[in-house]
């Protein structure tokens, strides 16, 4: 409806700014409208806050102290989740482990995500020969039996620690993402707003970063949330095979890794089960949040 108006610009401008929710706000709205996602978010937040603030109330040196007179104690008032083989408090281990595992998952997701994103964007944006070459390389990389290479690398790396673990994982887990981003980037490239920027003389890197990226960011964010869920459990399997994090680094994987021993599976459930459940809960939470994020990125599916 057209109306002739003389405008109080400032007020209108302010209103306009408010009217246009950013992606973050849309996500927030989506989450609020989805009870499961909201609950998930709350649970996850609590878990993470507790886990990340745990160094404040856990004396790490004391906690890591081995006390063989106190090992394999079942849950009690003193040790909420009992103790492990070294008499260490499983609950504290779990909190620190959550912190490590989540940090690892997050870092791997971010690193692998950024590598994949950059690769995919460049390949998709330039297309043609560049794309051709980059895709051949990617195809080759996708052929690598990742798990096996990870294992070999873990053996090789002389200074194997959390950081190198994150790096190894990041270096081997971006291929899928690159492909995903590239296929979207190729679609996006055909759209006229990219052409427009090119005719306006915007340099390629700027177009990639400021035009194309924001438009595929929701795809990337959705994908990253979902992979984040997977990456938290990343070390568990490797730990089981004996190629997980260095011993002595508490992680959910190390705790679940206790389940290698059938005795512990049956009789000392408190060492591994809470960690396993925690992973499950975190992954479910992240997944449900991820779904909400996904809906937010796709106007068709939005609830809000």
């Amino acid at each position: 409806m057209a109306t002739k108006t003389t405008i109080d610009s400032k007020q209108l401008i302010a209103q306009e700014k408010k009217n246009n929710p950013s992606f973050a706000k849309t996500v927030w709205r989506e989450i609020i409208h989805d009870k499961v996602a909201l609950i998930s978010l709350c649970i996850l937040t609590v878990i993470l806050i507790v886990a990340y603030s745990s160094p404040l109330f856990i004396d790490q040196v004391e906690m890591k102290r081995v006390n063989f007179f106190n090992n394999w104690k079942p849950p009690s008032a003193e040790n909420w989740l009992g103790t492990d083989d070294g008499g260490r408090d499983v609950f504290s281990l779990m909190l620190l482990g959550t912190r490590n595992s989540f940090t690892i998952g997050l870092l791997v997701t971010l690193f692998a995500g950024s590598i994949g994103l950059t690769y995919g964007l460049i390949s998709g944006y330039f297309g043609g020969v560049v794309d051709n070459i980059m895709m051949r390389i990617l195809e080759f990389l996708m052929v690598l039996p990742t798990l096996m290479i990870v294992i070999v690398l873990v053996v090789i790396i002389p200074n194997y620690n959390v950081l190198s673990f994150v790096l190894i994982m990041s270096l081997l887990y971006w291929f899928g993402k690159a492909r995903l981003v590239r296929s979207r980037a190729i679609q996006e490239r055909e759209l006229d707003y990219i052409n427009a920027s090119r005719t306006l003389g915007t340099p390629s890197w700027k177009i990639m970063l400021f035009e194309m990226f924001p438009n595929i960011s929701s795809l990337v964010i959705v994908n990253m949330t979902l992979t984040l869920a997977g990456n938290i459990g990343l070390e568990t399997g490797l730990t089981f095979l004996g190629f997980g994090l260095p011993d002595g680094t508490p992680s959910l994987g190390t705790l679940i890794g206790f389940a290698r021993n059938p005795d512990l599976v049956q009789n000392k459930w408190w060492v591994w089960l809470p960690a396993a459940l925690l992973i499950l809960v975190m992954m479910l939470c992240i997944n449900y949040i991820g779904q909400a994020v996904k809906r937010a990125s796709d106007a068709r599916q939005r609830l809000a």
Partner: protein
């Protein structure tokens, strides 16, 4: 890993001492030792079931491993522990051995030693036949030597005792095709082996496994080659021996079906068949409980649960292994091929080493972490060697106060008040500790030792802040990686008590690089001709044990038990070396 699982007796135990990959395989013990040890658990060595065995019984034995066995079923060529376990059922050593792992004349052959102790004559009994009916010949044993010494042979069993055979080095170098030190009698039943040097190791370590030449083919005539034998089905799918059971069928990597060898020289074996199958560590207890397997070793960490299983009996023996903390005292000199002590080592003062030993609380580890299945070690000659192990040896045991006193005395005191001692010059004293990963307990134990040391004021930190994988660990230890000050290792011990292989001046495996005149002297005496006299040898080793307890190049930490779960229906089964019931042909089941 360790190959100490042979039940036939010490002689069949492979000569060899190997570093243990800490992967929780615990084994053997002696009754007597158990009493002496500081532990209060006591395991039988023999099953208590005395019922009448049934005719034609069948038994299932579990090989506890998460790894399929390799299936190189020949004494000359195999390398895995599990292959050795399979071998014992169908292949035997010609010479039997007693509880001291010394050869006896009860086996399929008799021996005679010459006066100069350099020549041994082995005579095979009549009626000892290969599974295909061919008699076992002296030349079959010669053939084993021909294989072991062959230039193309790349296995690990071309060892000192083989090299010591006269003419062997020439043969090995490919200069001749005859081994001058070995002769075979005309009737092909008697073989004489002459050694360059006399050594008492011969009494336990002599190679007496013949190889069925007629079956696998002869490399000397060019009929076949070593390579062909190694990969041939004749040692993989249908191997033969002259032991109590014949291989009837093999499912590669997972199980073997044995059938009774009616023609066994000792008589008819008790069981009609034995199934030997791989059982994963995760399932072993359940398999025992269900009766799926009648016999299987029990991983230490599952001991408490195994105790509650009604249908099995737990046998236990002391394992042929010990764990130790090593102190880097010097370097391996590649030129001279010998160990050189470094006077500037952080541990040049032996009081520091002693103090660190005093500080370690092995008792608690054994009792609490291993439920008594490990207990503090004292000497470097383990209790398995009844006659040589010095049970009365005075060695440091957990005593932090003593440790502190020793350190004070050595001038290591805390000058800057940070709770940790500085060296006599007042410099920071921090030790790098290398330890192996693998097994769940590795980490807490390393952590615990570091706590122990910290309690007496010695600051120890993990090398690179973490444990190291087996291969890289030994790579570093072997290469005298300068970052390493102390390390935790383990040795698996063979049937010969001679420690010179791991503590001698010229031994590359002397990882702590400790040398001394006295040590050289004693070790030489221990293997001299005189040492064929057990009393003499015992005395020498007593002195050596005392020397090591005083010098502490390494501090032994724990000895271990290994446990075997046996179904209560099993009869005539024993873990005792040399005992009659330790031989598979006697094993049987009741009901």
């Amino acid at each position: 890993a360790c190959s100490g699982k042979d039940k036939e007796g010490s002689g069949e135990k492979e000569p060899g001492k190997e570093p243990e990959k800490e992967q929780e395989e615990t084994k053997g013990e002696d009754e007597e030792e158990a009493e002496e040890s500081s532990t209060n658990i006591d395991f039988p060595l023999e099953v208590s079931n005395n019922a009448e065995p049934i005719e034609d019984g069948e038994m299932t034995v579990g090989m506890v491993t998460d790894t399929p066995f390799e299936g190189t079923l020949n004494r000359v060529f195999y390398s895995g522990v599990y292959d050795a376990e399979i071998l014992q059922y169908f292949d035997e050593r010609l010479l039997a051995s007693d509880g001291d792992y010394l050869i006896t004349n009860e086996g399929a052959a008799e021996y005679k030693l010459s006066d100069d102790k350099k020549t041994i004559t082995i005579k095979i009994r009549d009626g000892v036949n290969w599974h295909d009916g061919e008699p076992v010949k002296a030349s079959d044993l010669l053939y084993a030597y021909q294989l072991l010494g062959h230039p193309d042979y790349v296995g690990e069993r071309y060892t000192f005792l083989i090299q010591n055979v006269e003419g062997m080095p020439e043969y090995h170098a490919g200069e001749t095709t005859e081994i001058s030190g070995i002769t075979v009698s005309d009737d092909d039943k008697e073989i004489t082996i002459t050694y360059t040097e006399a050594t008492p190791s011969l009494m336990s370590g002599i190679w007496a496994y013949p190889v069925p030449r007629h079956y696998v083919g002869d490399i000397m005539t060019g009929e076949t080659t070593i390579e062909e034998i190694e990969s041939s089905d004749k040692i993989r799918m249908n191997p033969i021996g002259f032991g109590p059971y014949k291989v009837a069928k093999i499912v590669p990597g997972e199980s073997v079906l044995f059938e009774r060898n009616e023609d066994y020289w000792r008589g008819k074996p008790a069981l009609k068949s034995i199934v030997l199958k791989v059982v994963s560590t995760a399932t072993v207890l359940e398999s025992l409980k269900k009766g799926d397997v009648d016999l299987a070793s029990i991983p230490t960490d599952q001991y408490l649960n195994a105790k509650d299983i009604d249908n099995i009996e737990i046998l236990g023996a002391i394992d042929y292994a010990y764990t130790y903390i090593g102190f880097k005292l010097g370097k391996w000199d590649e030129e001279k091929k010998e160990n050189i002590m470094d006077p500037n080592s952080k541990f040049a003062d032996k009081r520091v080493r002693q103090a660190m030993w005093y500080a370690m609380d092995n008792e608690t580890i054994g009792k609490e972490l291993y439920h008594g299945l490990r207990y503090p070690a004292t000497s470097l000659i383990i209790p398995v060697f009844e006659s040589f192990h010095d049970a009365d040896l005075e060695t440091p045991s957990y005593d932090p106060e003593k440790a502190k006193a020793l350190l004070d005395e050595a001038g290591f005191v805390d000058v800057d008040g940070d709770g940790f001692r500085e060296d006599p010059d007042g410099n920071e004293f921090v030790l790098n500790f290398a330890s192996m990963s693998g097994g769940e307990t590795a980490q807490p134990i390393a952590q615990y030792y570091m706590q122990n040391w910290a309690d007496v004021g010695i600051k120890v930190q993990l090398l690179d802040g973490r444990l190291h994988e087996f291969n890289s660990f030994y790579d570093m230890v072997k290469a005298d990686e300068p970052k390493i000050d102390i390390f935790q290792g383990a040795w698996s011990v063979a049937s010969d008590p001679d420690p010179s292989g791991i503590y001698g001046r010229t031994s590359a495996f002397n990882y702590s690089r400790f040398t001394s005149e006295k040590n050289d002297e004693l070790l030489a005496a221990g293997t001299s001709e005189k040492a064929f006299d057990p009393e003499y040898r015992k005395d020498i080793y007593k002195q050596w044990q005392a020397l090591m307890a005083d010098e502490v190049p390494v501090a032994p930490t724990v000895y271990r038990y290994y446990l075997t779960g046996v179904n209560k229906r099993v009869v005539n089964y024993s873990e005792e070396p040399g005992s009659e019931n330790a031989r598979p042909w006697k094993w049987a089941v009741s009901e």
